[in-house]
Amino acid sequence: MADQIFHVFRGDAQGGALKEYAVPPVEGMVVLDAIHYIQAHHDTTLACRWNCKAAKCGSCSAEINGKPRLMCKTRVDDFHGAPITVRPIKVFPLVRDLVTDVSWNYRVNKEIPPFTPRSGEPAPYRMTSEDVERLFEFRKCIECFLCQDVCHVLREHKGTDRYYGPRFMVRIAAMEMHPKDTLSRTDLLKGKGGIGYCNITKCCEEVCPEHIHITDNAIIPLKERVADDHFDPWRALLRRFGGRKEPRGT
């Protein structure tokens, strides 16, 4: 079989270009296998992140033929022998080759108030499957940040100063909808979290390797909560006296 041709971005913040590499194809090969082959046989300096090679850690995110994907989950034979282009994810500053500086995400995560249960109610909790099942979807997130990469607010409008991005809407949803959490994060969502900037194009859902319904199940319900808390006068009044999160159906 003919060698598979790869065009891999090489360079750093100063600039760079695609470089061509030929890799002998192996049955069932994924793009990450090819990157490893290039490292071992063509150029040991090719920088990329990876850990598990089993789609569980979310480290090897890249743009493959323009589409944000995990390299470990992208089969080479999906491209039927056509050249494959691999670039770093675009939304974050480039470090080198396929590695980008994703530290912004970790700073954002730290700004989000953690899970806050009622102080007088220690675990173990009694929670039925029905109470928690919808949260499992959010907890599946492997933090590959592909959703951040395609988010228009972050990518086209360079909005990291005003929107936390889909990943952290999922993170907040997991706590807001946790039956034992007592904190309301709708002020944060409306303010620094910038949920209003999301215009529900659902691009984030399309690239999620864990198939999380980011928009439908996390962002829209959170938008509804923000609307309830901030634009419903009756609830706004209640909140003045309460401050605690109210139980809701969404």
Partner: protein, 579 residues
């Protein structure tokens, strides 16, 4: 302080940010000391994330008869009685509290109908004991700990690789390494260091382990003078993916068998009937792995040299609910729909039972100020680890090591002095691949090492084979001196690999020396030339340590249980022969 490195100072430095490291960091911070958490990858990406099946803890939510005593006995038997019983007792007693703690921090598990944490059966656990969420329990554990830890007032240093422990006289003074992004050298000064660096599955090609499982922590501890124990005990998980070649070794969770999956050979026979008719498919991992190996040797293997694992009878909906990532993994990577056809599986290197020898309950190593927890520590699992026991290991002993490190640090008035010459020596070693005129490719050396391990330290071993393997490793180490790196120090994986390979060569030597020493078969250590268990060896652990620049091998007596604990383990036949 020299100007060629960045300097940081903490009371306690935790090396590694998997389950054990994160739990240790939380405990140390709660102990009221300053904590630096150093990880060579991004936060939340450590190998813990790959754990699938569950956390073993005797909650008794599904089987009320379960309690810590049964968990204790199962773990001792699983480890073939060379575990440190004192660690096992602490472990079995404290695991439930640690699991509930996770729940209190926001961790979510599958539920029983009455709303408690659901538990599933697993190999060689008497009762249904594994707290789980689908087949991504490790992700839940690491995310829960990560979210807790970042709000505990600790500093997290991501993508910093530490390569040498620094000492002031006998005791720990800090650690030295580099930032991957910039290549800049960094010294962490500390009163105490907790190693939580995981295992070294990457010594083998066919492994379920992440790239980062290169054993840096264990090798650094050895180089700093710590004793290593049970290094011959390397676990093959019975079920790794086999085909296509690119995915060979990726884990197929034991939860498949926990949920009712059946192993068959190429002739369609349930071969576990022959090897362990009582526990069948849910026998301990060493037994199942060996059984698959024997079926393949006998010519009853599947097309790519494994066994069939069938879960189709569970029904498509249940499979997708209980084993979603397995379903996805096979569909995407192997074009197999596991709701319709069986999986092809074969043993894969999964875990190391051996590691740094620690004092039970505190994680204190033989080097003052150095602590260890999690996979890098030895003693809990003996000759074979039971599934699910590693995640509870992380949280039980991570917490204890963090607490004791904090306590120790409080007793140290001044942060020990760092001797620049040690850092300088390590810098020279790290820079060598750029400056030497060698031509060896580090990836090539790594591949050769993996070939040696597969041939000589695999599932079936012989004295002659092990001795040959040792010779080859020592020769390879000479070749490794000529490893060459090009380019700059900025995020340069070829350069990183050069140091990783040196760590792995050290650990390979330890595995061979310990395996040569243990002239019997026990747990994961199967010697074709000594196929039986030898009661004499059942009273000994093999220990290696650095002496006069070489690796010395000794044995230590296995601590003997008091009668009230010994009674718990009696009444069950230990697999006597593995012929």
């Amino acid at each position: 302080m020299a100007d060629w490195y960045e300097e940081r100072q903490y009371d306690v430095v935790i090396v590694g940010a998997g389950g054990a490291g994160l739990r240790a960091a939380i405990a140390a911070a709660e102990g009221g000391v300053s904590v630096g958490l150093v990880s060579k990858c991004l936060l939340g990406k450590a190998h813990t994330v790959m754990a699938e099946g569950g956390i073993a803890a005797a909650l008794g939510n599904v089987d009320p008869q379960d309690n810590w005593e049964v968990h204790f006995a199962d773990t001792m038997r699983g480890g073939q009685m060379i575990n440190d019983y004192r660690m096992v007792e602490i472990f079995a007693r404290e695991a439930p509290a640690r699991v509930y703690e996770l729940e209190g921090w926001g961790g979510l598990f599958d539920r029983t109908p009455d709303g408690r944490i659901l538990q599933r059966p697993f190999g060689a656990h008497t009762y249904r004991r594994l707290c789980h969420v689908g087949d991504r329990t490790g992700l839940e554990l690491i995310r829960t700990l990560q979210e807790k830890a970042i709000h505990c007032g600790i500093d997290v240093h991501m993508e910093v690789t530490l390569t040498r422990l620094l000492k002031d006289g006998d005791r720990i003074a800090g650690a030295f390494g580099y930032r991957k992004e910039t290549g800049r050298f960094v010294v962490f000064r500390a009163k105490a260091i907790v190693l939580a660096t995981g295992g070294w599955g990457k010594l083998y090609k066919v492994t379920s382990n992440s790239w980062d499982c290169t054993g840096d922590g264990c090798a650094m501890a050895y180089e700093a003078g710590a004793e290593l124990m049970d290094m011959e005990m390397v676990q093959f998980h019975p079920t790794g993916m086999v085909w296509p070649p690119g995915v060979r070794g990726i884990l197929v969770t034991e939860a498949v068998r926990g949920e009712g999956g059946i192993l068959r050979n190429a002739e369609g026979e349930r071969f576990m009937q022959r090897y362990d008719p009582k526990k069948m498919d849910l026998s301990s991992r060493d037994v199942v792995a060996r059984s698959i190996y024997k079926e393949v040797q006998a010519g009853r293997g599947t097309p790519h040299g494994g066994a069939w694992l069938d879960i189709t009878h569970l029904g498509a909906e249940n499979i997708k609910k209980k084993l979603p990532s397995m379903y996805d993994q096979f569909l995407k990577l192997a074009d197999i729909d596991i709701t319709k056809s069986p999986m092809e599986v074969a043993p894969t290197i999964h875990y190391v039972m051996g590691g740094v020898r620690v004092e039970p309950g505190t994680g204190v190593t033989t080097v003052p100020g150095l602590f260890a927890a999690g996979e890098v520590e030895a003693g809990l699992h003996g000759a074979n680890r039971l599934g699910g026991n590693s995640l509870s290991d992380l949280i039980v002993f991570g917490k204890r090591a963090g607490e004791h490190a904090a306590q120790y640090a409080k007793g140290v008035a001044e942060t020990p002095r760092v001797d620049d010459s040690q850092a300088e020596e390590e810098r020279r070693l790290l820079r060598r691949p750029f400056e030497s005129d060698g031509t060896e490719n580090p990836y090539g050396i790594h591949e050769d090492l993996q070939a040696i391990m597969a041939e000589h330290a695999g599932i079936a071993r012989t004295g002659d084979g092990l001795r040959q393997g040792l010779e080859k490793v020592l020769t390879l180490r000479e070749r490794a001196k000529g490893m060459h790196a090009t380019g700059s120090m900025l995020f340069n994986p070829g350069w990183h690999e050069c140091r990783d390979v040196l760590f792995m060569l050290t650990l390979a030597e330890a595995i061979f020396r310990a395996a040569i020493e243990r002239e019997e078969s026990r747990g994961s250590h199967w010697r074709l030339d000594f196929p039986d268990q030898n009661p004499e060896w059942g009273r000994k652990n093999v220990v290696v340590a650095r002496e006069n620049g070489g690796m010395a091998v000794r044995t230590r007596p296995v601590p003997q249980m008091p009668p009230e604990l010994a009674r718990l383990v009696q009444g069950e036949t230990v697999v006597k022969s593995v012929r």
